[in-house]
C-alpha cells in the first residue's frame, strides 16, 4: 500500500462539528503533543508552599523534574517544589498505596508543605491506583492539604487538561470569606507581571485591587482567601471550570476575558468587567480602541492578501484566525489542539469572512513540511524549525510575547510583530515577486 500525505485527509472549518473532526495528517506524528503532566508542570510550580508529587515511571518523573528545575531557574515566579515517586515493576503488579502513603508522610514531616498535589500518570491510571482512597486514608495523619490531579494522556490530545485540572484542584484550598468590594481575582494567567498589563493597569487606576492571581502569583494562604474577591476575571479558558466552581460554591461571579484579538470582544470584556465592578471605563475603552483601530488600519494594506498557516500560539486558535481574516489575510491551514469554548462562534466568523481553510491536529510537523510547496503560505504563525521555513521562503511569526498581555494591547502587540516580520521578509526575499514556496 502506498501512503501519500495529502490535505484531502483533513476536514475544512465549515465541516468541523466535534473535536473528532480534527484529523491528523498522518499516523506517524512528530513531535506529538505534550501530555497533561506537562500541563501540571506549567501550572503548579507557580504556587508557593505547594509541593507537587509526580507518581509515575522513571521517565515521566525524570523529565517533569528537569523541566521544573529549568523553569524555576529561568522564571523568578516559579518554584521547584516538584518531588518524584518513581514506580517499579512490583508497583505495577501489586499497586503502591502503602509505599505512597509512607512517601506522603515523609514529605509532610520533612518539608512541612501547606499542601501536596498528587499527580497520577498514564501507568497509574491503567493499573487503577486509587489516589482518592489514598487521600481519604491518610489526610488525617498529615498537616498538608492533599489534592490529586489525574494526567492520563490516552484520554486526551494535549497538555491542556493538566492545566485545567490543576486549577480546578485549587477549589479544595479555598474557604468562604466575606466579600471585599472592589477586588478581583485573575484566573488562568500563567505569566509573571500581570500588574503591568493594560487590563490591570486600567482597573488599578480605578481603585480596583487584585486579591489573587491564579496561578502565577499566589500562595496557599492567598488561595484560601480567593473567595473574598468581588469578581473573577478569567483570562485563559483553562480557568473557566475553576471559575464556574467558585461561582457555585462561593457565589463569586466571573467575566471571561481571554487574550482576544478581536476589538469588539475586548470591548465587550471591558464593559462586562466595568458593569460588575460598577466603574466607568467608557473613556478609556474608547481611547484604547481607537488607538488599536488606527494602528490596524495603518498596517492593514501590508497584510491584506497574505496567506498563512496557523501553527501554535498561546492564544485561541480559531479566534486568532478569525481576526486575521478580518484583516484580509487568507488562512490556508489551521492546526488546532481541540475544540474549546466559543470555537463554534470563531469558526463561523472565518467562514462568514469567505474562507474555509483545512484544519489539522497540532504538533505534527513532519508530514506538514512535505506539503508547504502545495500550500504555499506567505506566513507561518507559531513554532517550527526556522531553517526549514526559511528554505521555503515562509515568514515565521512567533507570538509568545503577546500572551503576557491583556486587553487592546494584545492585538496591538501582535499586529506590530506581524508588520515587522513581514517587512523583514520583504527585505529578505524581496527580489521581485519570487516566493520559494511557489
Amino acid at each position: 500500500m502506498s501512503y501519500k500525505y495529502s490535505l484531502d485527509k483533513l476536514k475544512k472549518v465549515s465541516q468541523i462539528e466535534t473535536a473528532k473532526d480534527i484529523k491528523q495528517l498522518s499516523n506517524a506524528q512528530f513531535p506529538g503533543t505534550h501530555c497533561p503532566l506537562f500541563g501540571v508542570a506549567l501550572t503548579s510550580g507557580y504556587i508557593k508552599d505547594l509541593y507537587t508529587l509526580v507518581v509515575g515511571t522513571d521517565e515521566c518523573t525524570y523529565y517533569t523534574k528537569t523541566f521544573a528545575m529549568e523553569r524555576s531557574n529561568s522564571d523568578a515566579a516559579m518554584e521547584d517544589n516538584f518531588l518524584s515517586f518513581a514506580i517499579d515493576q512490583d508497583d505495577v503488579v501489586f499497586g503502591c498505596q502503602e509505599k505512597l502513603e509512607k512517601a506522603i508522610l515523609h514529605i509532610d514531616r520533612k518539608y512541612r508543605p501547606k499542601a501536596i498535589l498528587l499527580v497520577t500518570t498514564c501507568v497509574l491510571e491503567v493499573i487503577g491506583e486509587d489516589f482518592e482512597a489514598i487521600i481519604y486514608s491518610i489526610q488525617d495523619q498529615v498537616e498538608a492539604r492533599l489534592m490529586v490531579v489525574h494526567t492520563e494522556h490516552f484520554k486526551c490530545n494535549s497538555h491542556i487538561p493538566g492545566i485545567e485540572r490543576t486549577l480546578e484542584a485549587l477549589i479544595h484550598l479555598m474557604e468562604k470569606q466575606p466579600v471585599r468590594s472592589g477586588t478581583i481575582n485573575i484566573l488562568g494567567h500563567r505569566y509573571s507581571g500581570v500588574e503591568d498589563t493594560e487590563l490591570l493597569k486600567l482597573l488599578q487606576s480605578k481603585g480596583i485591587e487584585i486579591n489573587v492571581v491564579l496561578p502565577s502569583s499566589c500562595s496557599i494562604e492567598t488561595i484560601q482567601k480567593a473567595s473574598a474577591a468581588q469578581l473573577n476575571i478569567v483570562t485563559d479558558f483553562t480557568a473557566l471550570s475553576l471559575a464556574e466552581k467558585m461561582k457555585q460554591r462561593f457565589g463569586v461571579d466571573y467575566v471571561y476575558f481571554d487574550k482576544y484579538l478581536n476589538l469588539e470582544r475586548i470591548e465587550a470584556g471591558y464593559r462586562a468587567v466595568a458593569d460588575h465592578l460598577a466603574i466607568d471605563l467608557n473613556m478609556a475603552i474608547a481611547t484604547l480602541k481607537s488607538e488599536a483601530i488606527e494602528l490596524i488600519e495603518k498596517i492593514r494594506p501590508q497584510l491584506e492578501g497574505k496567506s498563512f498557516i496557523y501553527g501554535n500560539t498561546p492564544l485561541l486558535a480559531f479566534e486568532f484566525c478569525s481576526f486575521l481574516c478580518q484583516l484580509g489575510m487568507a488562512p490556508k491551514l489551521i492546526q488546532a489542539r481541540d475544540l474549546y469554548v466559543n470555537d463554534d462562534v470563531y469558526m463561523k466568523e472565518i467562514v462568514a469572512a469567505g474562507f474555509d481553510p483545512y484544519v489539522s491536529r497540532i504538533a505534527n510537523i513532519a508530514p506538514l513540511q512535505q506539503l508547504y510547496g502545495e500550500i504555499k503560505p506567505n506566513i507561518y504563525i507559531g513554532h517550527e524549525n526556522p531553517r526549514s521555513l526559511m528554505e521555503k521562503g515562509i515568514t515565521q511569526v512567533v507570538m509568545d510575547m503577546a500572551a503576557k498581555k491583556l486587553g487592546f494591547e494584545v492585538p496591538i502587540t501582535f499586529v506590530k510583530m506581524l508588520s515587522k516580520a513581514t517587512d523583514k521578509n520583504h527585505a529578505h526575499t524581496g527580489r521581485g515577486n519570487h516566493h520559494a514556496a511557489s
Partner: protein
Amino acid sequence: MQLHKYLPLASDRMGTLWALASIKDACIIEYGPAGTTHYGIEGFMNLNSELRASLYTTHMDENNIVMGDSERLTETIKEVDSVYKPPYIFVVASSISSIIGTDIDSICEDLQQAVKAKLIPFTGGGFRGDYTYGIREVLTILAKYVVKAPAARQEKSFNIIGSNADCYNFAADLRELEAVMQGAFGYRLNTVFTANSSIKSIEEAAGAELNIVLRAEGIAAAELLKEKYQMSYIVGAPYGFNGTNSWIKRIEEVLNTKANEIFMAQQMDKARKLLMRFKHATFSYRGFEGLLAGNYDFIADIYPFITSELSINISRAFVNHNLKDKGYRQLPEAFSDRLLVNGSEEAKEALLSEIKPDIIFGDGVLLEMSANTPLKLQVSNPNLHHIQIYDLTPFMGFNGATYIIEILLNQIKQKQKQLKNGF
C-alpha cells in the same frame, strides 16, 4: 525509598532512545502516548546532543489500551516505510504498551514481509533496568543486525563503541580520541556506536581494523563483531597522561605496531611540565579530598589520573546506575569499598556533609547538592543547566588531562582564601 527530590535513575527505555536518537537516518517509532515522545525529545537536548534520528510517535487512546487494538502501530509502520523509505525501523515499546502486553516482537515479525525496512523491536518499556541496559541493548543490536559484511578492509581505521549521548563530554572526547589515534598511529575514525553517527557508517563498521570499547555496555557488541568479522577490540577510555600512555600501549599490542615516538615524547614531555606546575600550585594546601561521580567505566578509567597524577584523594565515588549486569571491570580492591552504587539522595547528602570535600568531579545534581564545595567540575550526567557547544574541551586523552588541569588551576586560584581557611 522511591521518593526523589532530584532525579530518579533513568530507565532502560530512556537509554534506548538516547543511544538511537543521535544516529542520523535512524528511524524510530514509539508505540505510546505522544507526550512521552515529546518529553523525550526535549530531554535529549539536556544531554547537549542533537536529535539526528527521525522519531515518530503513534500516540495511543483508550481503545488501544482497553481493547489491545494495535492497528495504530501497524499502520504507522507501513506509512513510515512507504513515505520515508528508511532501511531500518526501530520499533520502541512504551511503558503503557508493555503493561498492556502488546507483543511488539510478533507485530514486527508479522509485518516484516509487508514492508521494505528491516523492523527491529525494542520491547523494554522502561521496567527492565536502568539506562545502561537500554544502551547495551542498542549497541548489541546494531552490531547484530545493522553492521554488514565489509566489501574490503579499510586500512588504518578504527571504530568507537560506547560513546553515547549519556556520556557527558562525548563530542569533545570523540574529537580527542580521533586526534590521539591519528597522532599515535595515523589511524582514522571509521564509525561511532552511536554518538553523532549514521546508519550508513554503522553498516560499514566491519571495515575497520579495531574496535575501541569505551564502556562495558559495548563489550557484547565488540564480541559479536569479533566473532563475525574477526575484529579485535580493546576496552577502556584514556584519561590522564599515564592513562593515555598505557591505553596506547595496549593498542600497540593489539595492532602489533609501535606508536609514533615523536608524538608520544612530545605528549609526555608536556605532561611532566604540567604535572609539575599542578603540584607546585597545590603544595601549600593540605591534600585535597574529593568526590567522583559518573558511569562505572568513567570512574574506573579516570580514577588513577585523579589520585596518582593529581594526588587528589577520592574519598567516595558515586556510580550513577546499577551494576546488575555482568561485564564490568574490576576496580582496585582498596577502592571498591569506597563505591556508592546507585546511592539514594539522602546517602549522598549525608556523605557530602560528612566528607566536606574540597573538590567534586560530578554530575549536575551532585554539584547542585554541594553548594559549599570550593572546587567543582561537571564530568557526568545528569545535566541540569550546562550548555556544551564547543567540542575542543575534552576530558579524555592528553589534551583532556591538560584541560582538566587548566580548569582546576583556575578554580584553585579563584578559591585560594576558601581553600586556605580549611587548611
